[in-house]
Symmetry: C2
Subunit: 390 residues, 2 copies
């Protein structure tokens, strides 16, 4: 259904009709100039993230439901990274004319699944139009007791450096999707050339192929803009690499780790989520805490599928784990006295320790060489303009 | 300076370096995964707005400093519309390559002037890249005592309907800018045609004129993309219409009215800011309060310049005041017992009263005819996709 058919308020009613706030702190949600919240006994945490089509996501390989999920999760992850509990979210979307009501319902269904998983209320937002592509801006609000909040600046010499889960898989998932997309485009080009050579009627509309939704790994988008030339069935090859895809498309915020740390009585001294890559985040913690660090290559947790994919692509897997982003794992430091306790925690790995600031940020390789860590970030555009500041 | 030269964190440091939080409720601002706020004694108000280039603003006639100001003010206005006090703001920007560091500094300088005017702290955000154009998403946070908050749903039969300032001027300002832009483009076309006819070298690059920043009323943008053809000096004609421009480009949030109402001991029963037009906002209040209203055309406050401009454009000035948006004046209802008090308040006009729901929303014209109010909204795209929900 075209969005114009519903009209502006009809659309919002449809997307938010059955949203019922569950948190005690949510006093009033969607429907007025502001949402109203109440936090008498704790600090309020606020984070915001903007995702732009073509820069942060590519609708040829992420469907709108996964995109909604991921957009919510990357914000929820920032609340956990402060050792807080996520509670509310506002969602702003700018959409171009090619999106339908059903598209937005898909997006919202993913968004709401992610919010439901962590008990987050959608309390407002803005739905507007865009000339080109989709822009998503989400603000997540959470709470924490003052004494529980973990900043980036609390790491101290001798603290242990820990990460949750494994690293580099989301980046490898992206490489995999890019590879299959390239294969698909090659097939399209091939088909176009044949079609032109044969003078079939389809060849009179080659612009459809370029201009329409190119699609590839995502059949839903193929329906939206099926090319006019005759393309052979395309079956992307993801076998044995399902975990990489999942890590790229179905981001998880590690609230479970926060919970386990609490249960174990561990309070990190500094913490961040890994959105831009381990190196980059380590540098933030070191810079803000005025310390150095010493990280061991052999300790960095890497999944088997990540290693295989790196091998296939002729890439150094450690570089991928250090600089590939979007893992949304937690990077944190704990006092050395928690050494025994931290080793009991499932899915957390000790990768090094904090040193004096003058020693810099050092990576010790498998063959005991030492390198200074450099942050490269995951996004090729990052050196120009991709930068997050809260 | 190109943004790439500064790099991601350099840019943020530069834009936020000397931002010092002033509010007691701001515990931690820019620099971590989240901002940290503290509101033990009041409710937290949250509002968010997204502005897209080409849809909400046109950089050919608004410079980045005014745009920064306006982006902040429209959010601050939503906090006042709940009878609250604005305190914090997060600012997300997605920028394409044509923007320089200086451009962003201009934007931030306007943004900060607006924030300074109302004592708002910038506590975080996200700066990222966009393939096309500029996207702005702002979240504003404020506070109010629970008993002071004014929702849209509190209007009761016999309540008086009031508006601040005057209406329709921002819309007329937009019409004026559009007219001058059209005149400019006509001149450019003319110059191009002459240039092509004469075979001057400039004509080999006509794409510059279309593709570059067209500019017109804003000399700053002319520098950024000066056309290759020889365009005669263009002096837009704004004389006698300065107020209209000011209303369109230098939006003011009416915190002064909120202050005066407080001082007079008046607590509105329902309130909104007028962003989409009086008709549209009246319908929100009536729908959510389950009431009707009766508004008198002759009472609607209209500035002299608005009336003159409407005359020039052959438009009905009342229609402009009812459906033109972006005035950001306050629309509110007060108990009939406040009649004398409200008449004492400077710059507030009584335009009608609240009736039983069954009587609908009625406009009484100057010649005593009655019409049902219809919301058309200010934005030509609004019936399709421009819709705000908190």
């Amino acid at each position: 259904m075209e969005i114009a058919k519903l009209g502006e308020f009809g659309l919002i009613d449809r997307l938010t009709a059955d949203i019922k706030p569950n948190n005690e702190s949510t006093k009033y949600g969607v429907g007025d100039d502001c949402a109203v919240l109440h936090y008498p006994d704790s600090e309020v945490l606020v984070t915001t993230d903007m995702l732009m089509e073509g820069v942060h996501f590519d609708l040829t390989y992420i469907d709108l439901q996964h995109l909604g999920w991921k957009s919510a999760m990357v914000n929820i992850s920032d609340i956990f990274a402060m050792n807080g509990t996520p509670r509310q979210m506002t969602v702003s979307l700018a959409i171009s004319k090619r999106f339908t009501v059903e598209d937005l319902e898909q997006f919202y269904s993913g968004l709401r699944m992610a919010c439901d998983k962590w008990g987050v209320d959608i309390v407002g937002g803005d739905t507007t139009s865009s000339y080109t592509g989709l822009a998503i801006s989400i603000t997540c609000i959470g709470e924490a007791r003052k004494e529980d909040i973990v900043y980036r600046n609390g790491a101290r010499e001798t603290d242990l450096v820990c990460v949750s889960g494994d690293l580099g898989a989301a980046y490898m998932g992206l490489q995999l999707l890019e590879r299959e997309k390239a294969v698909y485009y090659q097939m399209v080009d091939e088909a176009k050339r044949k079609s032109v050579a044969g003078g079939s009627p389809a060849s009179t509309n080659p612009s459809r192929v370029d201009g329409g939704s190119p699609a590839s790994t995502n059949p839903a988008r193929v329906d939206g803009g099926s090319p006019a030339v005759n393309i052979p069935d395309f079956q992307p090859d993801f076998s044995g690499k399902e975990y990489l895809l999942q890590r790229q498309l179905k981001t998880e915020a590690r609230g479970d780790i926060i919970q386990r740390l609490r249960e174990a009585g561990i309070r990190p001294t500094a913490m961040m989520d890994i959105s831009d890559g381990l190196s980059s985040e380590l540098m933030h913690i070191c810079k803000q805490s005025h310390v150095g660090c010493r990280i061991f290559e052999k300790q960095i947790p890497i999944d088997y599928q990540t290693a295989v994919m790196a091998e296939e692509l002729n890439m150094n897997v450690t570089t991928c784990a250090l600089n590939g982003g979007e893992d949304y794992e937690l990077l944190f430091t704990v006092p050395i006295g928690d050494h025994a306790k931290i080793q009991e925690i499932d899915d957390v790995r000790l990768i090094g320790h904090i040193t004096h600031e003058s020693l810099g940020q050092v990576l010790v390789t498998r063959d005991d060489q030492e390198f200074e860590l450099k942050a490269q970030g995951w996004n090729p555009l990052s050196s120009e303009s991709n930068a997050k500041h809260a």
